[in-house]
């Protein structure tokens, strides 16, 4: 997490536009790559690369929406910012329903655009972070014994040690032991952490 630097991918058939956005994005210290078409972008993109996609709506061969659809068909959740021309409202609405993230009408306020890009990058990183966290929790949960999983399920349900002991027909002392084992193995600092993790794995 955070080891790989996020990249802003810019796709526009108008080289002036894509290059200028790259210039703008780089001016605030972000990495950017520009492509002349959706196809060129898809050929070079590696899904594990964090970042966001800024694409024009109207392009020959493959429109911005088609590009977004292809990405989502590949299971790539890269945030997409679609630049539209004046009057493309209906198209934008259609695209929105299909799950594209943001729309920017050209010409755009560069600060808004940069803010949007920042938001997207952050969201992407967070999502990727969540993905990593989720993976880690699952691994830890796998290490629990069957009895420990039962105990964990019951305590995150809000049951007291006594109740758990009665339900599982064991002594409260043993419940205590299991509970500290669970907290340990799941690397949960607080009970609240454990509850959050339980959402992921249970």
């Amino acid at each position: 997490m955070g080891e790989r630097k996020s990249i802003v991918f810019i796709v526009d058939d108008d080289v002036a536009v894509s290059e200028s956005i790259k210039w703008l994005v780089e001016s605030v210290g972000l990495a950017a790559r520009s492509y002349g078409s959706g196809r060129a972008f898809l050929a070079g993109y590696e899904p594990s690369q964090p970042g966001c996609l800024v694409t024009d709506m109207r392009m020959p061969e493959m429109s911005g929406l088609e590009l977004q659809e292809r990405l989502s068909r590949r299971g790539v959740d890269l945030p997409v910012i679609v630049m539209t021309a004046y009057g493309d409202v209906t198209t934008a609405v259609r695209a929105m329903k299909k799950g594209a993230v943001d729309f920017v009408e050209k010409p755009f306020n560069e600060q808004n655009m940069l803010d949007l890009i920042h938001d997207c990058l952050k969201a992407d990183i967070e999502r990727r972070g969540r993905d990593v966290e989720r993976g880690r929790v699952r691994v830890q949960f796998g290490r629990l014994s069957a009895r420990e999983r039962e105990v964990m399920r019951l305590i995150v349900d809000g049951k007291s040690n006594k109740e758990v002991a009665r339900l599982l027909d064991i002594v409260p002392k043993t419940v205590e032991t299991h509970r500290s084992q669970v907290m340990d193995k799941m690397a949960a600092a607080t009970f609240a952490d454990l509850v959050r993790m339980a959402h992921t794995c249970l």
């Binding site: 994005v25 020959p60 004046y86 009057g87």
Partner: protein
Amino acid sequence: MQPGVIGEAPMSAVLLASILLRLCGVIAAVVLLKRQRDWRLGFLVVLIALMATRQILTMSHHFGLGISFDANLDELPGLIVSVLTLMSVFYIGRTLDDQKRAGSAFRSGQEFMRRLIDALPAHVSYVNAKQQYQLVNKQYEKTFSRPRAQIEGRHVRDVMGPELYAAARDGIDGALSGRTVRMDLNLKRPGREDLVLDASYVPDKDASGAVNGFFLLAADVTDRKRAEEALRQSEQRFRDYTDVASDWFWELGPDMEISFIAERVAHHTGIPANEYLGKIRFEMGGYVVEPDALGRHRRDMDRRQPFRNFRYAKRSRDGGLRHFRTSGKPVYTDGGVFIGYRGVTSDITHEVETESRRRQAEQRLLHAIDVLPVAFTLYDSDDRLVTCNRVYRQSHGSGEVPAEAGMPFKDLVDAYVAAGGLGDNEKIVEDWRTARLNRRIKPEQGQQYRLGNGRWVEISDYILDDDSVITIGLDITKRRTAEEKGSVHESELTQVLRRSTMGEMAAMLAHELNQPLTAMLNYSSGAIHRLKSDRLDRGELLPVLQEIHNQAERAEDVLKRVAAFLRPHGRHDGVCGRTRVTDVVEAVSVMAGAELRAKQIEFKPSVPPDLPPIMASRIEMEQVLLNIVRNAIEAMQDSANGERVLKVNAACDRDDGIRIDVIDSGPGLDPSIADRVFEPFATTKSNGLGMGFAISKRIVDGLGGRLWIRESGSDGLCVSLNLPTAEVR
């Protein structure tokens, strides 16, 4: 005789008489021999001579000179023999004479018979039971070209030849079995005319009824047959004519009753011919004849006068009215006795009906012309008035022009001018009249006048095929007024189209401007950020500024195009001029270019370089075409079709002027507005006014062209327009 008396006794008178008788007998026999030239009579001569000699010897032996008249009974038998001998000679002579006379008579009779039958102009022969010619006449020699001797005695078949024999067989066999047969025989003679013989075979029966042979009499009837054939053919020809003619013949008897009428009459009247016989014409009922005409007709016939083409009508049995025309002439015998009428009748229903229809049509046409709201006149090739209508007669305001058929064109115009109908256009009228009279007429080139009553007319002349002339005067006062207002209206319409087109173009132009503006903003913002954070490399800045400059120029280009669209070439809107289609298409391709690219539509214009210019306002044409192109683009935008092609084909058609087809590959015409595309506010677009097609059509119509839409099969929609070329106008 007694030996004692010989030489001694006087001559006995009886003996002497006997000798004389016998000598007479010799002489008679010799005469007979000579006459009859029959050597057998020689015996008779010798016999009688010997008898005479014997008596003479007896006398010389017994008697001396002197004559004794004593009765000597001994000598009496000799005398009797002598008398009998002489009588016998005479008898024989007589018999032979009779015989000879009878033979000669027979011979001459037979000769006569033969001459008779030879003289007959027919073949006469007698054939025996063995079918051999016994007797033939000279005609046979001629016919069979051989002497009689080679015919008589021969078999019939050998003479006639097998063919003719076969034909004659009936006659021959019939006659030989006892019947008389009469038949025609066709005698073919190679190289010569065929003969037709009327042959009679008559059996020759004896008393017991047995047939010994037959007589044949065959007369040459070739000429008669030919005449009969000619007559028959002539009659047949007459019958044929009668049968095939639409007319039919009839004959009336002396009392005017119908004595003959061709069968054909039934075909036309439905009444069989035999029902007519014996009836009097026009007394059969069902006739529709004008009484006067019928009276005249009857008087003519009472006076035995020929008549021609008398017309009448008659109700046929099915109730329909048929029209007829009949002609006839009286017939007299050689002696001048009237024996009736003979004539022919035709069914003229079709002609009468056609004529009536033609007259009706003509009448209708005249009525139509009369109510036409234009002044119509038709002059014949000599420029004399044939007909004119009400509007023309009333067209000069102060009463009717005395327009009568036959009036010369020149006089009519003079009358018109005199009545003040043509106002103060004397010079023009004079020119027109001269041109008209010299047939220098340019059709469709109307001459416009302001009449005395202040109204405007347009007068056009048209020469017809038969060199007659139609002159049409059209009251164009309203049109003139409307045109003055109309030009204003037209430009208003154009403005509406302009605004609607511009409104729709604005979106496109915005996109066009967005690109460079976006790039400029990004470049400048990026540069500002770098400057602020002091991360700017000088070398980096120059190309960026250059790019900003480029993009500003790009935006300027776009704006120039907008300006060009708004005020093209400094000309006023709606001014017609020679406009090149290729310029229009070029301008439209520029104006729609961005949208075409954005929608990934391939634009394929095809304008021949030698296309003649059209007479139209360029700006209007650009708007019309841009409108059509934009419609096509939008149609294709909604289409799922993979290929998006927009074709603009221009071509020159000899008859239609310039034709421009705009063919898209969209889904075609929306059926919900198919029948009112050209009406204002018909649209399937969410953001259009729906005025485009309506206004485009108005503009094209105004230029004398036509705008239409059709589905173009697999291609989607085809919008076509044609416009006159500048040359024609």
